[in-house]
């Protein structure tokens, strides 16, 4: 039982770490937490002229 719990826990940890690394834009998250005057502007665009 203990081995199963450890294996599941490890698997969740790996998936969570991979998700946070691949899918979370940390620059945006950190920028959103800066005071308004210090934030970088978020500029929207689409891949077209």
């Amino acid at each position: 039982m203990k081995k199963i719990v450890l294996a599941v826990g490890a698997w969740i940890a790996v998936i969570t770490a991979a998700h946070m690394s691949l899918n979370v834009d940390w620059n945006v998250l950190l920028n959103d937490r800066l005071p308004v005057g210090k934030r970088k502007l978020n500029v929207a665009y689409i891949p077209v002229t």
Partner: protein, 279 residues
């Protein structure tokens, strides 16, 4: 990166994005509806085309009668250019049907014969040409000298509270434009820009952007990017004529020219392909 202009509009209105590139008529319409944004600069000049199937029945503009043409939005210069061409060819609204489609979908739709033509910005005309199934019927400049399409809009609260940040943004775009338009280095720099924009921003094949930026070199221009009153008065007039704007709107109401004026003394980036950083 977004996939359509309506999503950019929503992101700006909800303050998820503080600035964005969108088609000029959409920015004007939003401002006319009271959305607190202003146009501060252009994204480029030219760079839109009407494309038909290479082996299809449409050989001239008049052949579009009864056909289905995709446009990015009813609030787009790509729609207005069709009306300008219609006028030249003695056609009227309703002679062909227009359908709104997200820009990344149009080349595939043309190849699959789901549409007969599209009016769109680059690199989608290039995509159809490169793919061998599309042919440019005409470039926007043929019916609209000084054509503009995408503009940079900024939320009014950002303009009011952080004008320095807006100026830095506009200065950067101005410097990039000058860098791309350097007469003696244009080809090499555009090839380099296609490479890094394709890889890191547009997530598109750099060969496609190389085609769009260099075939020919004036297919898309990045200078001058100052928003001129005469260009926008024409857009407003066409919008009213074609039923997507219900009142006249003063240029000063939807454009703030001070950032473009502030960028006029800028010089191109000091950067050559291979350098570590731009200054």
């Amino acid at each position: 990166m977004f996939q359509g202009f309506p999503e950019i509009k929503e992101a700006l209105m909800s303050n998820k994005m503080q600035a964005g590139f969108m088609v000029a008529p959409m920015a004007i319409a939003l401002r006319a509806q009271g959305v607190p944004i202003k146009i501060v600069y252009l994204g480029h000049r030219y760079g839109s085309a009407v494309v038909v199937r290479k082996d299809g029945p449409v050989k001239t503009f008049a052949d579009l009668k009864g056909k289905l043409v995709a446009i990015p939005s009813r609030f787009s210069d790509e729609r207005l250019i069709l009306f300008r061409a219609m006028k030249v060819h003695g056609m009227k609204a309703g002679d062909f049907k227009m359908v709104e489609m997200a820009p990344p979908d149009v080349a595939g739709a043309l190849a699959a014969k789901a549409i007969d033509a599209f009016s769109m910005g680059e690199p989608y005309p290039s995509q159809a040409e490169m793919g061998g199934f599309g042919r440019v019927l005409f470039h926007a400049r043929e019916y609209w000298p000084d054509y503009t399409s995408c503009v940079l809009v900024v939320r009014q609260d950002v303009i009011d509270n952080r004008p320095d940040a807006v100026q830095v943004l506009v200065d950067g775009i101005a410097r990039s434009g000058l860098w791309l338009e350097n007469p003696s280095k244009k080809l090499n720099r555009r090839n380099h820009a296609a490479d890094f924009v394709g890889r890191y921003y547009f997530r598109q094949d750099p060969r496609l952007l190389r085609w769009a930026l260099t075939n020919p070199l004036d297919r898309v221009l990045y200078e001058p990017l100052t928003p001129y009153k005469k260009d926008f008065e024409l857009i407003v007039s066409l919008m009213r004529e074609t039923g997507v704007l219900d009142r006249y709107i003063e240029f000063e109401e939807y454009v703030d020219v001070r950032f473009a004026e502030g960028a006029m003394t800028q010089t191109e980036w000091r950067y050559e392909p291979g350098d570590d950083r731009a200054e």
